[in-house]
Amino acid sequence: MNPPRPKPRLDAVNRPFWTGGAEGKLNITRCGDCGEYTHPPLPICRHCHSENVAPHAVAGTGEIDSYTINYQPWAKDLEVPFVIARVRLDGVPGVILTTNIVNCPVEAVTFDDKVRVVFEEQNGIHYPLFEKVN
């Protein structure tokens, strides 16, 4: 049994990202003026500096940008090995999420694999994990 995941401290800016999974939404901050995305989220668009930014539900699919098979149990009782990956999100240029790839053997993961989001809920946080699309 894995220990509970480290829990992000929620605030006005990050709450849509960490709780959107309750409605099945992967929310990424998007600019209402230039249409570009800002992640990690900020109260300003990092492209055009407009303050007209809001969470936007994206497709929730993407590709593996890079990954590592982690063997070191960084916390007591953490089950290893598991995959830590960076996922490039479809339709969200320039945004990458660090995440875990789940529901497959660790050796089944490689570069450019197509993946989709699966949310894991713990203590009110909906962690966006990803699984391979067959």
């Binding site: 480290p6 992000p8 990690p40 982690n70 916390a75 830590i84 945004v95 962690y127």
Partner: protein, 388 residues
């Protein structure tokens, strides 16, 4: 020599160990005394103190001593001091000190980095780590997925290098093998490296986070390292061979480990050469941050010693980067071989090599130019050092 130049005039180091009992302030003062002796200066001549990252109360092992304590303990009449984490990387403390002496604010300043992680973790009652129930800041984007260590973030750059350019584990392993070979010639590395690593042992080592194995990661160490920086118009007060800080850079395009393709070593490396007439061909030795073994490869490429993607092939077999090779790397053992001194060890060794005082590990010839770097991910700082 104009005041507008900054020189390193003294280097010093405390005992380097694992789970030392000696108080970290005293370790720092040990290193300061050695550096002052080397420079031929007295503490009364010091008028500034600079450090990275400043005292970190949430985990004193990471940084147990602040610039204020050195001012207080040694009675320094300081004209400028600074200890801060929000700067390029560890060696930025030396860069900030160089700016202070060039500006005429100070004449001779102490720069230090003290680490006490091994001791602190072994004595949690005395050095507790403040436990937080929630994560915030940049950590919230990695920690929830158990990417708790910079090893997990660095590993993904290394995986990309292997995937795109074909770097092999045998090539990557040369960083750790070279470190261990050199550490065996460094008396200050005795507590960290007790026998030379072999390729067989490397290849069969426990994996931490692929492709980084146990020997690709530095280990917690207790030590203080000191560099004294002096103004160009104060050199008549020192009794040593001064080493000029010929150029420095600490550039970062995006402050992130995971939104960028490669670490900031590339932008910092390119900018270093824009500030000097020296070129990579002039460099006699390189001292590159190796908290994780992949990072020196990013510095080799970022500083243009080889093209992007060529780092793995360049270090193959290890002969080019050996002490008697064409570009000796981490001649003191780096952090992998000589302990996690956290950045300052690279400046210390560059100066030692340029002065020709490195003993058994001294590189041949008459070295005049060295590059020292620190950092990984968005952290990056580079110093070009020259003996005129």
């Amino acid at each position: 020599m104009a005041r507008k130049e900054a020189y390193i005039t003294g280097v010093g180091q405390s005992e380097v160990g694992v789970r030392l009992q000696r108080h970290p302030l005293l370790l720092t003062i040990d290193a300061i005394r050695e550096a002052l002796d080397e420079a031929g200066l007295t503490v009364e001549q010091i008028d500034g103190v600079f450090t990275y990252p400043g005292k970190v109360p949430s985990f004193l092992g990471f940084s147990p001593v602040g610039s204020d304590e050195i001012i207080e303990a040694l009675g320094i009449k300081s004209k400028w001091h600074n200890g801060a984490m929000e700067q390029g990387a560890q060696l930025s403390a030396i860069g900030t000190a160089a700016q202070a002496v060039k500006e005429g604010l100070c004449r001779h300043v102490i720069c230090f980095r003290t680490v006490y992680e091994a001791a602190a973790l072994s004595r949690p009652d005395e050095y507790p780590m403040v436990r937080r129930d929630e994560v915030d800041g940049a950590s919230q984007w990695t920690s929830p997925f158990w990417a708790l260590s910079a090893a997990c973030w660095t590993a993904q750059y290394a995986m990309r290098h292997m995937h795109r350019y074909g770097m092999t584990r045998e090539q990557l392993g040369q960083i750790a093998l070279n470190a261990s070979r050199n550490a065996m010639k460094n008396p200050r590395a005795r507590a960290i490296t007790k026998e030379a690593l072999t390729l067989d042992k490397y290849m069969s080592a426990r994996m931490i986070t692929s492709p980084l194995c146990l020997y690709d990661c530095d280990r917690f160490t207790d030590a203080a390292t000191v560099v004294i920086v002096s103004a160009g118009d104060a050199l008549d007060e020192v009794k040593c061979t001064p080493v000029r800080i010929a150029a420095m850079s600490a550039s970062v395009d995006r402050y992130s480990w995971d939104q960028v393709e490669w670490p900031a070593s590339y932008e910092t490396g390119a900018d270093l050469w824009k500030r000097t007439d020296y070129t990579p061909r002039d460099v006699d030795t390189i001292q590159f941050y190796d908290g994780f073994a992949f990072l020196p490869i990013t510095w080799l490429e970022g500083l243009g010693f080889v093209g992007k993607g060529e780092g793995g092939a360049f270090i193959e077999g290890g002969t080019r980067i050996a002490i008697d090779g064409e570009l000796p790397l981490n001649t003191f053992g780096g952090q992998l071989g000589a302990g996690r001194l956290h950045g300052f060890g690279f400046a210390h060794e560059a100066v030692t090599q340029l002065r020709g005082t490195a003993g058994e590990r001294q590189i041949p010839g008459d070295p005049k130019v060295a590059v020292a770097t620190s950092g990984g991910g968005p952290l990056a700082a580079a110093l070009l050092l020259a003996r005129d």
